[in-house]
């Protein structure tokens, strides 16, 4: 576990040195916490870093429809302040769902592009602009070079860059294993909803896999879907889960 770092002065000094080498030394990088202790502990700084790129994909069928990934990102964007720019190639979002996680339609500007390349260019332009709450892009491919450019653009302006990876076919999703310059990489898969005492569907639950995080270790969490303010919560009820082993939060 690195999250509970011991306060070793030598290590602190070294970290400072590395941070200044990375070029972010002059500006203190802030984070957007999830407000879930277990999740924030896995992320350096205690939350999603501003001025960085974050990748989210759906698991299973979600790799194609990207529904859970979009809502997860919608919840994150809802908790930021300022305008949100959302770049995509095909507009099949149903905005009422995003409004239900607290993202107001007045805040979101959509950029519907003809080609993937245009999405990348618009995404980068919006990241460079600065002063936006978050910039979201729905992308099929994210090559290393492109992601590095985007990461640099985000670092420079301090904007939160969010990428929804979404493929045409489920088999193409293996692309998600390739390295990119993103600071974190998530996979959000749907799980059966929280059981209710009456027939019906309870709060949706997701399996959030933090597959990669720069300067940190990944983990798996069972979370309750975003509420009206875009907040997620750790799902306490696991009575419905056959595989209890998955509840290990920290992979030490």
């Amino acid at each position: 576990m690195i999250a509970a770092a011991t306060s070793n002065p030598v290590l602190d000094e070294l970290r400072e040195k590395i941070a200044s080498l990375e070029g972010a030394g002059s500006r203190k990088r802030s984070v957007l916490p999830f407000g879930v202790r277990e999740l924030d502990a896995q992320l350096p700084g205690g939350g999603l870093a501003y001025g960085a790129l974050h990748e989210v994909a759906g698991g299973g069928n979600g790799a194609v429809d990207g529904a859970a990934a979009a809502l997860f990102i919608g919840g994150i964007a809802a908790r930021t302040t300022g305008k949100v720019v959302w770049c995509l190639t095909r507009f099949d979002l149903f905005f009422p769902a995003l409004a239900q996680v607290g993202l107001h339609p007045d805040r979101v500007i959509f950029v519907e592009c003809d080609k993937e390349e245009t999405v990348l260019a618009s995404f980068e332009e919006a990241l460079r602009y600065g002063g936006l709450g978050a910039v979201v892009a729905e992308l099929v491919r994210l090559p290393m070079t492109a992601s590095r450019r985007l990461q640099l653009a985000a670092e420079k302006s301090g904007t939160l860059g969010l990428v929804i990876r979404r493929w045409r076919r489920q088999t193409e999703a293996s692309d998600f294993g390739l390295p990119t310059a993103a600071a974190t990489r998530w996979r959000i898969s749907v799980l059966p909803s929280e059981p209710l005492p009456v027939p019906g569907i309870g709060r949706a639950r997701w399996l959030a896999e933090l597959m990669r995080v720069r300067a940190g270790e990944g983990g798996e969490f069972i979370i309750g879907a975003c509420d009206g303010q875009g907040r997620i919560s750790l799902s306490s009820d696991t009575a419905d889960r056959p595989d209890q082993a998955r509840r290990s939060f920290a992979v030490s």
């Binding site: 149903f94 009422p96 019906g200």
Partner: protein, 433 residues
């Protein structure tokens, strides 16, 4: 019967030309007595391509009760001739196909004086092709140099620059160079200098630019133009410079540029506003400059979405301009709504109890799913005031969750009892997160 009024005709033509200047292209000129000529190179993409631009143009004229013919060709001469001889409303000649398109046109389309045309007819010439293959020297000897000139202009052997029309109150700044310039950095430097001058001029008049044109005059007497539009009046130097700087690579300096001119084609009043300064309130950054930068690139549509008071899901969202007023309206939050909505509801096969039970299982895209949990129905009625066929139409929406936890939004067309209300087929309409 109305008497011809050439003066009024010319005045109207000028008005139309000025309108075309603000709408279509930076380089527009009158082609009296009855035409307008435009250089649309690099401007058509803003109207969705040449074809759409041309048909849109003709339709807009027709809407005002004017019959118009329009043609696009490589040269002024060819376009002029085609627009005046064709029966069709629009003609587009591809690049390099001018010769093929104009060969069979009559001599009268060559923009020659009437007596020259008559003289040529007497000699037995009927079409442009006849004239094009005849030796030049005897023709020039007999009719003067104009015949050869018009032919060369039509086939693009001689450049024929269009002298763009300029309204009287136009705000325009120019820079002439003693030595032609060509390097991108140099162009960039002078463009930013022009922008600064233009902004000063605009400030004097209390105007902001909505549409600006940069016209590049090359030493070989050809023009190139760049147009940039903004979503609201602008007088910000950095913002305007950025709009042009993005596209400086598109300028082809050729043998060199001798003059640059920058004009505010559409300018609107822009008054200084004092911004309220508050220490507590958080500043929300204005994104209009970003919208302009993205919008001037082409290849994308920028919009916001806004609610429509309709229960039918696909009608409840519509697109509005990104700079539209923010009225804070949103959708009612009573019922769960899917994150992704299919453009068209997809037919599914279900096993379900009628009238108001959710399905036990359903097959979508070849995969059978057992329904573990469900919520519903949420009944949505057709909007009879839109279409007669929706008079008693009903959709019953259910949220269903399958074994693996995937959640879908499905509906049955019809209320489950009365066949009049729908076909009782089931459809999948959206995917929940």
């Amino acid at each position: 019967m109305i008497d011809a009024d050439p003066v009024a005709d010319l005045a109207t033509l000028e008005r139309l030309t000025l309108w075309a200047l603000s709408q279509y292209s930076p380089v527009v000129a009158m082609d009296p007595p009855d035409g307008i000529v435009m250089d649309t190179d690099g401007a058509d993409h803003l109207q969705g391509g040449e074809e759409l631009m041309l048909s849109g143009l003709v339709n807009r004229f027709r809407g005002r009760g004017l019959a118009a013919h329009a043609a696009i060709a490589d040269t002024w001469g060819a376009a002029h001739a085609l627009a005046r001889t064709t029966d069709r409303e629009t003609v587009i000649v591809g690049r390099g196909e001018t010769a093929k398109a104009v060969n069979r046109l009559p001599l009268s389309s060559l923009r020659l004086p009437a007596e020259t045309v008559a003289g040529l007819r007497t000699l037995g010439f009927a079409t442009v092709a006849d004239l094009a293959v005849t030796p030049r020297a005897p023709l020039t000897l007999r009719f003067g140099p104009e015949v050869g000139l018009r032919l060369d202009q039509m086939f693009g052997r001689i450049a024929e620059p269009i002298d763009p029309i300029r309204p009287a109150e136009l705000v325009e700044v120019q820079l002439s160079f003693a030595e032609p310039i060509g390097a991108p950095e140099t162009i960039e430097k002078y463009v930013s200098r022009l922008v600064r001058q233009l902004c000063l001029e605009l400030e004097k008049r209390g105007l902001g630019v909505r549409r600006a044109d940069l016209i590049v005059h090359r030493v070989d007497n050809t023009l190139q133009s760049l147009r940039a539009g903004t979503a609201k009046p602008v007088r910000d130097i950095a913002w305007l410079t950025k709009l042009f700087r993005d596209r400086i690579e598109k300028i082809e300096p050729g043998f060199g540029i001798e003059k640059l001119s920058l004009a505010a084609i559409i300018a609107e009043p822009l008054v200084d506003v004092q911004s309220a300064s508050s220490l507590v309130e958080e500043q929300v950054t204005d994104v209009t400059p970003l919208i302009d930068v993205l919008g001037n690139r082409g290849g994308q549509r920028i919009f916001r979405v806004a609610p429509v008071a309709s229960d039918v899901p696909e009608r409840s969202v519509h697109r509005i301009a990104p700079t539209a007023d923010e009225d804070g309206a949103t959708w009612p939050m009573h019922w769960p709504r899917p994150t992704r909505l299919l453009t068209r509801p997809e037919l599914i096969e279900v096993i379900a109890l009628l009238p108001d039970h959710p399905p036990v299982s359903f097959t979508w895209r070849g995969k059978r799913r057992r329904v573990k949990r469900a919520d519903g129905p949420e009944r949505i009625f057709g909007e009879w005031w839109r279409r007669g066929s929706e008079w008693i139409a009903v959709r019953d929406y259910f949220v269903v969750e399958d074994d693996t936890g995937e959640r879908f939004w499905i509906f049955r067309s019809g209320d489950g009892v009365d066949v009049e209300t729908g076909s009782h087929k089931w459809f999948l309409h959206g995917v929940f997160a």
